[in-house]
Amino acid sequence: MDSDLTWLGLGDSGYGDEIAFGMLVTATLALATLPVGLIMGFLLAIAKQSRESSLRLAANIYTTIFRSLPELVTMFLVYYGLQIGIWMILRWMGVASAVNINSFVAGLIALGLVFSAYASEILLSAFRAISNTQYEAGDSLGLRRGQTLLKIIAPQVFRIALPGLGNQWMELLKSTALVSVIGLPDILRQTGLAARITGDAFFFYAVACALYLLLTMASSIVIGRMERWLKRSQVV
């Protein structure tokens, strides 16, 4: 066990700094995907309750597709599809050069698509839990539709949706591990490299699991605090 611990050291002989960097990459990717997915999910949820049937249809197609596809397939479609797409556009414009999409960007787009699809369903059911009188109260106060949505409805929606969104955040955090397959130096890739070089795969993958556990546990504490904070008005 002594040698295992030296492998976790910093500097040239240990992999501690590389793995710490991987953890940073994982956390950054998840944190960067969150706002993108939330905004997209919010817009989708609004579209799904529109009176316009075409808008509902378009939003439902989106959800059906990205909830049904495995994250890995979505990721490869985005990763290779974007590269081929940009290459074709460049060729059409007369520029002949191969493009390499950053794996971080591809991962962010793919995870954002999946997250927003799930988040929209969670937000939709939260929207449905809010009674019509809230909109009417907003109208009678002279607020415009956008103001009512932003200042009266959205805070309540987030309070109701938070447990579901929290679960989805955990899923997002775990899904980031898949982006290591297209070369993102996250926790799993960095520990995998260390495992291959040192040959002690069990130790390094156990470290990877422990780090993910750390992230998910820390998240659940933060989410629990947020839930309590958002419920502070409901004390009886």
Partner: protein, 276 residues
């Protein structure tokens, strides 16, 4: 002719006011057209790129990949269900040690990515090659397929245990008391009164778990198993045809949507007695 006709003579309904082309309608129509264009573009792409040799070589492989994926999911969800019962009971147990152990198991398997668990078992257990060989388990863990089955079973057992626990706890206390009043023994009451009611609550989450396993199973392609995703990666690496991934997406879409409607059908069928 009733009296109403003499009081108010029948009139034609008021004319329909044409729906205005407001922002939402324009946006909705635009987005639907965009989806339609994407569908047309994909169809044109697939037809244009239709290579008989490609279809002949990889078509059967895709089908066998679908079979592998479904086999993996069926076996691991089934054995996970068996394992989830003791886990759920342990999680609800009054004995602290048992409860702590079950909680630890659940926290580990639900808090880490499935792909990391798979790597831990597939690559990691190689380090214990000698010890495993001594107890005769190395033959089992040498094979990527067995490792994947093992990892998936342990993982889905954790999720299923939580589903089961939630469902069992949703059965009201009165059910236990009336079972006791009828003179049923504890185990009888659990098997005949509590479990059937709990399983109806658990139906929807179970369905979601199966769908998550189908989607999650795509990662076994990375440890060399030729499931649907594995065959896709094989086809792409040999032909460099982007259509490989589009076909995979279509296959997954059909499988998952088919499963989803099957689950809805089963749920409607099993809850007939609860509908008015």
């Amino acid at each position: 002719m009733g009296i109403s006709a003499t009081i108010t003579s029948p009139r034609a309904p008021p004319p329909m006011t044409p729906r205005p082309w407001n922002g939402a309608r324009i946006l909705g129509a635009g987005l639907v057209i965009l989806w339609a264009l994407i569908a047309v573009a994909l169809t044109v792409f697939l037809v244009h790129r239709w290579i008989p040799a490609y279809a002949a070589e990889y078509g059967p492989r895709y089908l066998s990949g679908v079979q592998t994926t479904l086999t993996l999911v069926v076996i691991s969800v089934g054995s996970g269900a068996l394992l989830s019962l003791p886990l759920a009971l342990g999680r609800m147990s009054k004995r602290v040690v048992l409860r702590k152990l079950a909680t630890l198991y659940l926290a580990f398997f639900r808090g880490t990515p499935l792909i990391a668990q798979l790597f831990l078992i597939y690559y990691g257990l190689g380090a214990f090659h000698k010890q495993l060989d001594e107890i005769g388990l190395w033959v089992f863990f040498r094979d990527a397929w067995n490792c994947a089955l093992f990892a998936f079973t342990l993982n889905t057992a954790a999720y299923q245990a939580e589903i089961l626990r939630g469902a069992i706890e949703s059965v009201p206390l009165g059910q236990y008391q009336s079972a006791a009043a009828l003179g049923l023994k504890k185990f009888q009451a659990f098997r005949k009164i509590v479990l059937p009611q709990a399983l109806i609550v658990a139906l929807r989450p179970y369905g979601n778990e199966i769908i998550l396993m189908v989607k999650g199973s795509a990662i076994v392609a990375i440890v060399t198993i030729l499931d649907l995703m594995g065959e896709t990666r094989y086809a792409y690496s040999r032909s460099f045809e982007f259509q490989s991934y589009i076909w995979a997406a279509l296959f997954y879409l059909v499988i998952v949507e088919g499963l989803r409607s099957l689950i809805v059908w089963i749920e409607n069928r099993l809850t007939r007695h609860l509908k008015r």
